[in-house]
Symmetry: C3
Subunit: 446 residues, 3 copies
């Protein structure tokens, strides 16, 4: 599959350039879980990868949740008695509480204070705060600025609307040659924050582009939607797809300086977990593999016990794991070119392993005679080569209880070599792949 090519240095560099361009263009938009910011973001991503857009009406049920009213905002500010905007949405879209209800009122500083949010411990950063499900208004500002607010009366304006509309998400589905499916999900709801999550959106787009350029075995669905309500909405509208899902990733927070990190699925030993573990251990010394915990991004939904999908998360920092998290300091300067490149290479190989992974079965008793099929040297007595070893390993483990990822782990041979050996054995009909979505070897060692 074509995602593999992103492992080449040149291709990865080109992909990094694309992601940086996308991120710069997307950065200024005021995104939220609904609204035009998301639509304009999907327009930008859609230039790299074809996106089928879904508009889901407010009030639509998604399991225990409902799609909320759509939020739109034109302007927001707090002005002092001289008319100076002391807090101004136009200066930074984090200044308004995301999903803030409208208000237009004059009030004292004392009345205003309960609606202000700032970080005493980071006085120069504007915090990112939201209130999707309780209607309230508010502003976020640098603590240093807050302390300078003089007593007096202020004009407070949030020119927003909360009214029935839609939740918007985009999906790029690339049809595979076998019935299995896989998902890459990234959240689109954060406003001007760079690492969280312009990096995830841009990388998902270049991955989708690469996968689409080849012929994957699995059907791959790259979904760009808001956090929590977005994944739940997608899940509720794709219940027929779920039984066919054999792997996938939630991607996000992929550009900062923290170590590349894979967070296991809840089951902990799915094919995705094992594939990611191979990739990180072999190619990314210093990368971390961490256990599932229910705090995080959309892996929370995909891995909830009601779905329990084989989906992990590729990230660098975890939620709350870096000082700039959810503040205005998470800007484009935080994103490192080499971090992006490493994240892309790792994501591409994990996607490739998930795609190529399969469970071959042999029905021969004893070793088959490879020589008569042209797969083994003519001359006996010397040690067979690497490819012959790979053939022997695939045959030895072709018992229906080992997929190629398990074979790579047990043999110590590289996945791609075993993949080629398996293909050669399929060619001469010595093994046959079990096409059904496989959960082989996925029982959790609790």
């Amino acid at each position: 599959m074509a995602a593999e090519r992103l492992q080449d240095e040149a291709a990865a560099d080109a992909a990094v350039a694309v992601t940086l361009e996308l991120m710069e263009e997307m950065f200024p938009l005021c995104r939220s879980i609904t609204g035009d910011g998301v639509r304009r973001t999907l327009d930008i991503l859609g230039r790299v990868v074809p996106l089928k857009r879904s508009e889901v009406p407010s009030g639509t049920r998604a399991f225990d949740w409902d799609v909320p009213a759509e939020w739109s905002i034109r302007d927001a500010y707090v002005a002092d008695s001289f008319g100076n905007r002391v807090i101004d949405f136009r200066a930074h879209n984090l200044h308004v509480l995301n999903y803030s209800a409208p208000i237009r009122q004059t009030m004292t500083l004392e009345e205003l204070q309960p609606h202000l949010h700032s970080l005493p411990e980071r006085p120069d950063a504007i915090p990112y705060r939201t209130s999707y499900y309780r209607e309230q208004w508010g502003f976020c500002l640098r603590h240093r600025d807050r302390e300078r607010l003089a007593p007096g009366r202020y004009e407070v304006v949030v020119d927003s609307q909360l009214r029935p509309g839609h939740l918007t998400y985009g999906e790029c589905a690339i049809t595979g040659s076998t019935p299995g499916e896989a998902i890459v999900y990234t959240h689109t709801c954060h406003p001007s924050l760079a690492n969280d999550n312009l990096t995830g959106m841009a990388i998902a787009a270049v991955l989708a582009q690469a996968v689409g350029a080849g012929q994957p075995r699995l059907t791959w669905r790259f979904v760009f939607g808001p956090g929590t309500i977005g994944s739940l909405t997608w899940l509720s509208r794709n219940t027929d797809v779920l039984p066919r899902i054999v792997g996938g990733l939630v991607v996000g927070l992929l550009g900062d300086a923290a170590a590349l990190t894979y967070k296991r699925s809840r089951r902990g030993n799915t094919a995705t977990d094992r594939a990611a573990s191979l990739v990180l251990q072999h190619d990314h010394p210093g990368a971390r593999i961490i256990d599932f915990e229910p705090y995080g991004y959309d892996e929370r939904q995909f891995c909830s016990p009601g779905f329990d999908l084989p989906i992990g998360r590729l990230t660098r920092s975890v939620n709350g794991g870096y000082a700039e998290y959810h503040t205005s300091a998470d800007d484009l300067s935080l994103v490192r070119r080499d971090s992006l490149a490493e994240s892309i290479r790792a994501a591409a190989r994990i996607v490739s392993l998930i795609d190529r992974n399969r469970t071959p079965m042999s029905h021969v008793k004893g070793e088959p005679r490879l020589g008569k099929r042209g797969l083994y040297g003519d001359l006996g007595g010397s040690r067979p080569g690497e490819f012959e070893h790979a053939l022997l390993w695939v045959l030895s483990l072709a018992d229906g209880a080992h997929d190629l990822v398990a074979m790579a782990k047990r043999s110590g041979l590289r996945f791609e070599l075993l993949d080629r050996a398996c293909a050669a054995l399929e060619q001469v009909e010595l093994v046959r792949t079990i096409e059904a979505p496989s959960t082989v070897g996925e029982r959790r060692q609790s």
Copy 2:
């Protein structure tokens, strides 16, 4: 449940005072597997905790065993030709072989010797020896004294009786609010030995008192009976109870200086084992957790393959694990106040965890919306608190394969916090507890 309060320092101190009083009063009595020594011991314990007494007739079958004849003893001595008692039961009740047959005879030292038991390697200690199932007579004495016995004729008297009577045990059952049951068993058959097992009896009594002061979820049975034949007799008369047993402890040897020790059940991974492991690892640095072995006290019976109950043993020294074991040197001076206090706190928390442990199930797909149920903050963007984390963990693991003890282990959160989170989720009907005695996660990793 009220056992938790024994973890408070003040309450534990008060409990230690009670145990010390009980032990002093019980110490002089000549106990055995049957007889009035046991009855008087139960009288003393009965002042702390209400005991239902059972009297099981001699000859009653208990699986492969029979309740033996009842033993009573009034006096026993060996007197020299001047009438001086050179071995005297009245000086120490260990001097007579426990369950000794009666004898009244004059004999030479040579004839006497085969009936004497002493410890050359501990010449100042009287050994504790028994002969419950082969009728014989005998005396135990300090080796130093034995060596001083002059040749000559001796008057040998054991004024005992072995005749049909009863085996006596006491039980305090505290009815729980759910169908599950648990046992605490301690052996009552040892005569004037302090650590083994006045400590077990006294601690079981204060535990029972504490559990009885609250409303446990499980029905708790505190059983005070002789070793081996006592537990077998109890098991044979309670076969209807056994399928409902979800946990329990054998307690004994809890006052010496050795490290607090938990001996796993035979299965090794029962809820009791996992609960004890949490308690010892979190609260008792330096405590030991050891594997089951079939040499020990009544855990031998509860864990035999025919029952295989989820019952471990809380102890300090193991059998034979301290120099004073089964000798007159195991007296009240061996028992340390701080050891008792630590043992009580550990036992109380293990009992509490066994009692509160349960397996919640969720049937929601995806994360439920906690905010609308008042269980989550209104404002998004900052890291949720400890209680919110506990809610997420309980929901994430509420798949019927994890009990609260497993959740505590996997999440690293404190059991009591998860218990509160689970209760909150039960309250709003997001999880439902599987009430059937659970063996979730108990498969042994052999």
Copy 3:
């Protein structure tokens, strides 16, 4: 069983002497996968152990393979224009490519070169090369000699025949007292190579002799046949035996200086694997236990997924694991007396453990009263002895899920002690052995 006696030093020394004699006599013969070299080898081994010989016609199907034409050879040489034999089969039978097609022709050195095999990196050793399944002719020689070959014409003669005949193997079956069976397989196809595999043949013979001198529980089949096609042929003719096989070993390469090595079966946790692990860990510090890999000798066939038998390999070096491997340097000087002795002792104890291993079941509830059956001391109070401990362990684990090997591992007691305890409990009918070939505890922890 009588194999145990080989663990005595004197018996092991005598066995070493026998193996050395056998090896010296077998060394000069030109063996191959078929032909008279094998027949004469079996004649020699047959003097130590009775061998039933099978002659399987060329063309007989063995799963994916066919028995090839039989190869016989009288002479082979390359002579220069003066008639001097510059390569001479009579000097060393490795000089001819094993299974070489006949040729009689004069040619230039240039024409000869593609048919010559030598080792530039080991210029003084003749390599061992074979071509069983592609008809070709060739010679093997020291690289140093090859470099001295002058341009010119050479007379090239291989006086061999490839025509329908038979594949020959020998088998010594010793009938056991229970339905289970076990195999020891060793390959007989290597010509004048000492460690690989005169050591395997000789040691299998002395093992068979020892087992035959006693009354084993299992039926033991010692099979002496060629590599790959030999084991496949045996398997294809013994499909009725396979379901009864509970253990076994492939033996070979047992005399060199490398550490004693056990290579696990493919399943990795069979009774054979666990028995070998006990033996090596207890008696052979420094020995290695390695995982299965599909490159090796006949364990490749026994452990292929179509059979998946509980058979490991006892070896010292692995294939290709020593510098002299498959060259004329693997001669008798490479074989060390102390290595042979250690290999024999280990093999004998592993065979003995496989044979004595069984799964006892108890149906008693609680501990049975051992005293009334004469199995426990009369006097209580002191720590029971080692044999009493072994009785308690066997009873405690007699749940049908533990065989004696598992009991030895879990208890830390010696297998032979548990075997005696089990026999004593069988005697008094407290346990009953499950006679069916057992796969207890053999699930692989992947």
